[in-house]
């Protein structure tokens, strides 16, 4: 395993009592599952989760699915902040962890048809992003391939109106007031008003309704498919990125956006690179990063120019020339990038690896984690069944000490980022996450290419590895998210949402 270590994270280790080196690996336990599949139950295409995100406080979780729905979850240990914070601060392991419950869901996008371009627009949610909470209402952005929507989800007390002036059952349709009263007519208001008139009485019930409302629609700004949206730390703008362009929006203005990055060549035949993901810096309002299909990450300083076609920094690792193969270009394409909460690091995921970059070092990542090296001999198969183009997401823990990403067979991996840490856990998105851990191959497996190549396409989704483990390319864990303040991971395996937690294990050295 290639590890280019540094001591950058040492200062962030919570145990400050003289231990230098890696903390013990996290022990992951199953917490919850939503939408678990019964044995033999077939997954409905529309139910497959396609986006997942915790809000900044960690109070809420949102998922989007291929059917255009957004589902919200909230912490069950909800309101008692002080009590919970005390618990979170405790260093020793306790059998306590945040739990979530289903809150509400709504249909965010519907399938559409663009008649001008004769193009079907899927309802599939590509990304959800939480916005600033205000007045107890939740706000979030959701996007499909073309249209971004701004949602407000608010609890409303159920109200009953009674004691009207007129019997509501009586027809009043044609007696509505048309002209101004008292102007130009002989209608006179007595100084004390009319005692016979009174206001309706409103009875506020104890029940509450969750009311999702679409507040704004940001449409018609993207010619290509939107792959990312990201909020700015200024609280008033966000970006949306498609294959070739990045647009800047003001949350309040939906009929105007500014194109800040455009990589479209004059002649589309010259196209060699597309934008795969883009994200704003968590605190610097003028910095954003975007990744490309060539495996590069560009950092942009929006202060320099209105059109950000020139980058401030370019993060790129130059591979050794000998190791190139037919697949090199495909597998170096970055499928996702995330800033760490510290704002100093960027995590990127390409097909085979996770890379952690320090903003101050452009030439190579500070750490590289092999996600599923045992698949390298099978790239040819993966290419044939198009799996090689799967877009895996990645995430960092709030403290930056761990990173996680998904793989096939519903597996996902968690790595420790601290220098010297060998933490590299393999977990399965099931009720028994540690089932597969023991048999994860550590040695490169012998090639089975010759065997699998002869099979028909579609039949080769199941593939055996050298140690006898079976890898299922049809069950892939593309989307996952790490809770911002505690070690809780939410993973989407097809239509099911699995939640895991880890406590920092007791350290004998303490």
């Amino acid at each position: 395993m290639l590890r280019v270590g540094s001591n950058l994270f040492l200062k962030m280790i919570p145990h400050g009592n003289g231990i230098v080196g890696a903390p013990p690996p996290l022990e992951w336990k199953f917490s919850q599952v939503f939408g678990e599949r019964a044995a033999g139950e077939e997954v409905q295409e529309v139910d497959i989760i396609s986006a997942i995100e915790f809000d900044k406080s960690g109070e809420h979780l949102a998922t989007g699915d291929r059917g255009g729905r957004v589902v919200l979850f909230e912490r069950t240990d909800g309101k008692d902040h002080a009590f919970r914070k005390d618990k979170e601060k405790m260093d020793h392991a306790i059998a306590w962890h945040p739990e979530f419950r289903y809150k509400t869901e709504f249909q965010s996008h519907e399938p559409e048809f663009d008649y001008l371009k004769s193009l079907e627009i899927e309802e599939k949610i590509n990304k959800v992003r939480w916005c600033q909470t205000a007045n107890g209402a939740l706000f979030l952005l959701s996007t499909n391939d073309k249209t971004i929507k701004y949602w407000k989800v608010q609890e409303k007390k159920v109200k009953k109106i009674c004691d009207m002036n007129l019997d509501p059952s009586a027809s009043v349709g044609n007696r509505r007031l048309v002209g101004p009263i008292g102007v130009g007519t002989d209608f006179v208001f007595p100084p004390g008003g009319f005692p016979s008139l009174h206001l309706p009485v409103q009875i506020i019930g104890h029940e509450t309704n969750l009311l999702p409302r679409c507040r704004r629609v940001y449409a018609h700004a993207h010619d290509y498919h939107i792959n990312s949206i990201s909020n700015n730390s200024d609280g008033e703008t966000f970006i949306s990125a498609d294959d070739l362009r990045i647009n800047l929006w003001n949350l309040e203005i939906c009929n105007q956006s500014f194109n800040i990055v455009d990589v479209k060549p004059v002649n589309m035949e010259d196209l060699t690179e597309v934008i795969t993901s883009a994200e704003f810096h968590p605190t610097h309002c003028n910095t954003l990063a975007y990744s490309s299909s060539k495996g590069t990450i560009r950092l942009i300083d929006m202060r320099q120019s209105a059109l950000c076609d020139t980058h401030a920094k370019l993060f790129e690792e130059h591979g050794t020339p000998g190791s190139r193969s037919f697949f090199t270009e495909i597998i170096t394409s970055i499928s996702d990038i995330k800033f760490g909460t510290d704002g100093r690091h960027i995590l990127s995921r390409d097909y085979m690896t996770l890379k952690l970059w320090d903003l101050n070092m452009e030439s190579r990542p500070v750490a590289t984690f092999q996600v599923h090296e045992y698949l390298r001999p099978k790239l040819c198969d993966l290419y044939e069944n198009d799996s090689i183009f799967d877009k895996f997401e990645c995430c960092l823990s709030g403290d930056g000490l761990h990173v996680a990403t998904g793989s096939y067979s519903n597996l996902f991996r968690v790595f420790g980022t601290v220098s010297g840490s060998n933490e590299a856990t393999t977990l399965e998105a099931s009720k028994n996450p540690n089932r597969r851990q023991a048999q994860t191959p550590t040695k490169p497996s012998r090639s089975f290419t010759s065997l699998t190549r002869s099979r028909r396409r579609g039949a080769d989704v199941l593939s055996a590895d050298a140690n006898g483990g079976v890898y299922d390319f049809s069950t892939k864990l593309l989307h996952l998210a790490w809770h911002p303040t505690s070690n809780v991971l939410a993973c989407a395996a097809a239509n099911s949402l699995y939640m895991y937690y880890a406590n920092v294990p007791q350290n004998d050295a303490q």
């Binding site: 600033q132 205000a134 007045n135 107890g136 209402a137 706000f139 407000k152 608010q154 409303k156 007390k157 109106i161 009207m164 002036n165 007129l166 019997d167 509501p168 009043v172 007696r175 509505r176 007031l177 101004p180 009263i181 008292g182 209608f187 208001f189 007595p190 100084p191 004390g192 008003g193 009319f194 016979s196 008139l197 009174h198 206001l199 309706p200 409103q202 730390s233 200024d234 609280g235 008033e236 309040e252 605190t283 610097h284 309002c285 003028n286 929006m302 202060r303 320099q304 120019s305 209105a306």
Partner: protein, 587 residues
């Protein structure tokens, strides 16, 4: 259920509909809130309606917006100024909603009410409200509070004033950028109410914090504050405190901040006086004119005339003019276009000699610009140059520019130049016009694009108005009438349209002798579209011509058309006949 008297029925409906499920009906009721208040009387409005509205804060934004607006003018309905404070609670809740336009309206209404309230009422009711909002749990309340300080502050006693200043300063350091932005944009208004001694200390330190904010969006708004604050301070304080900030801002890393400086700079020159302008602001402005970012140059170029106006001509010629020369060949067409739209205004500032010597070559090069917007912008301000140097010097270059624009392949460009033709005509005079532009005006009537033909017809009318019927009789009418024989019906239709526009300008006599026969002839056209347009034109001619002409010529023609096989022709012919009937009856 009470029985409601018949005359009160509509008001009862209005009240009930405050709670209707249909948002349109609720909106309608809210818009008529004053009627409801009058029906309830002042006392019940205070005791029942206002509390009722205060609870109504989770309605749709449109309803809340209307409510915020209505409450701003509600003082007469609650019993006058001494009861104005009862209006504060509902507006206070509206100040906390998350929709910006509702909050802004609520703040506006609060300011309107606060401005009328008595001093001790302000202390008792308004100032506590401002403090509550400023300490609000959600950022929305704190954002709104910033816009109320300038109303609250003047009537506050000394202790409270100190407190308000310190609250404002806290708002400027709020965690939420939205709050800091609101504090920054309201700083000028608040500062205007603060005593000079505190202005120099408290407000200036608030201002300095804002100018160093991490968020570009906050610094941007602080720039806007510069000009407002500068005007409040004595010139020497302004030079000491504001000038360094603005010079710093003009070199800010963020182009958006520099862009704001470029837009604001000339106002600051007025505040600091001539000497610091010469030593500091002119160099800063020159830097902005040469900025790397095109957006900044666009903003700076757009202000070049305003800036020069407050300088003496010598400074303008020495420092600004060289930049203007550079900008006229800027790589960005938008910069050139911004320059072209204002550069004509520099002529009066620089005087005749400098204009001819220095500006004229720039005008001429911009008139030959490859980008049509640049040329159009020059032409649109032609009258300003005319005043200084006369049109003769320009006319040589002007004509090719106009001709080229007139034949531009983008119809919007052609449309723009047509719209300037009457201005050009008045500036250039009849002689020039006859030689060069007359043919163009006719050519546009046969343009491929409808909007151009339509504009061309209108243009002819405006020319006829400018130069009079006699001139039009000679230079417009014959050419136009000739085109009625065009083989394409769409062009013939344009001519009919032109005739209907020209007729009122030309007067009854020419209409009868020249225009009417052509129209009548067209009623025999083989295309129904022409025929029903003839009917429409005839209808428009009825008021212009004599009754006898209507009787003898127009009506027979219309009668014939009203028996046409085509249904549309019959429709418009009978419509025209009806009009003529009405005219006859009324006369």
């Amino acid at each position: 259920m009470a029985m409601i008297d018949e005359p009160l029925y509509p008001i009862a409906v209005l009240i009930d509909e405050l709670k209707n499920e249909d948002i349109q009906l609720r909106l309608n009721s809210i818009r008529r809130l004053s009627t409801i208040a009058r029906a309830l009387g002042e006392e019940r409005t205070r005791k029942e309606l206002i509390p009722f509205l205060s609870e109504n804060n989770d309605d749709d934004d449109e309803v809340l917006l209307a409510m915020a607006e209505e409450l701003g003018v509600f003082i007469p309905y609650v019993g006058g100024v001494e009861y104005a404070h009862v209006l504060l609670p509902p507006l206070e809740t509206l100040c906390t909603v998350e929709e910006t336009c509702v909050r802004d309206k609520a703040v506006e209404s609060l300011c309107r009410i606060g401005a009328q309230m008595k001093e001790n009422d302000l202390v008792d009711w308004f100032i506590p409200l401002v403090k509550r909002l400023a300490a609000g749990e959600w950022f929305t309340a704190r954002v709104s509070s910033c816009g109320l300080f300038h109303i609250a502050y003047p009537s506050a006693p000394e202790m409270l004033k100190t407190e308000l200043r310190s609250i404002y300063s806290q708002l400027c350091q709020d965690d939420m950028p939205m709050v800091r932005r609101s504090a920054a944009s309201n700083l000028g208004k608040f500062a205007a109410t603060v005593e000079p001694t505190h202005l120099k200390t408290d407000i200036m330190s608030i201002f300095e914090d804002l100018t160093q904010d991490d968020q570009d969006s906050v610094r941007l708004l602080a720039v806007e504050g510069c000009a407002a604050l500068g005007k409040l301070l004595e010139p020497q304080d302004c030079v000491a405190h504001i000038l360094p900030v603005i010079v710093n801002f003009s070199q800010d890393k963020s182009w958006r901040v520099r862009y704001m400086v470029a837009n604001q700079l000339y106002e600051l020159c007025e505040a600091v006086g001539p000497e610091p302008t010469r030593t500091d602001l002119v160099p800063a402005y020159v830097r902005l004119l040469r900025d790397n970012e095109a957006e900044v140059r666009i903003a700076a170029a757009g202000k070049v005339t305003k800036f020069c106006r407050i300088l003496n001509p010598q400074l303008a010629i020495q420092h600004i003019l060289p930049c203007v020369k550079e900008l006229s060949s800027d790589s960005s067409q938008h910069v050139r276009s911004a320059l072209a739209s204002v550069i004509m205004g520099m002529a009066p500032v620089l005087g005749k000699d400098a204009t001819i010597e220095q500006l004229l070559p720039i005008f001429l090069s911009l008139l030959k610009d490859e980008f049509p917007d640049v040329r159009l912008n020059i032409i649109s301000k032609l009258d300003q140059v005319n005043q200084v140097i006369g049109i003769d010097l320009l006319s040589q270059s002007l004509l090719p520019a106009i001709v080229e624009l007139a034949e531009d392949r983008h119809w919007r460009v052609r449309l723009a130049i047509i719209e300037y033709i009457p201005l050009l005509a008045s500036q250039l005079g009849v002689g020039f016009f006859d030689d060069k532009l007359g043919a163009l005006c006719m050519q546009w009537l046969e343009d491929k694009v409808y909007s151009i033909r339509d504009a061309a017809a209108n243009n002819l009318k405006r020319l006829a108005e400018e130069f009079g019927p006699d001139w039009a009789m000679q230079h417009i009418i014959p050419q136009v009438l000739e085109m009625i024989n065009n083989p394409h019906y769409l062009y013939r239709m344009t001519i009919l349209h032109a005739i209907s526009l020209l007729a009122p300008v030309m007067g009854s006599e020419i209409t009868c002798s020249k225009l009417l026969p052509v129209v009548i002839n067209s009623s025999k056209d083989r295309v129904p579209n022409i025929k029903f347009n003839v009917a429409k034109v005839l209808q428009s001619l009825i008021p212009i011509v004599d009754q006898s002409v209507v009787e003898q010529t127009i009506r027979p023609c219309l009668v014939e058309l009203s028996e046409d096989p085509d249904v549309d022709v019959r429709f418009f012919a009978s419509q025209a006949l009806q009009t003529s009937d009405q005219v006859m009856m009324s006369s």
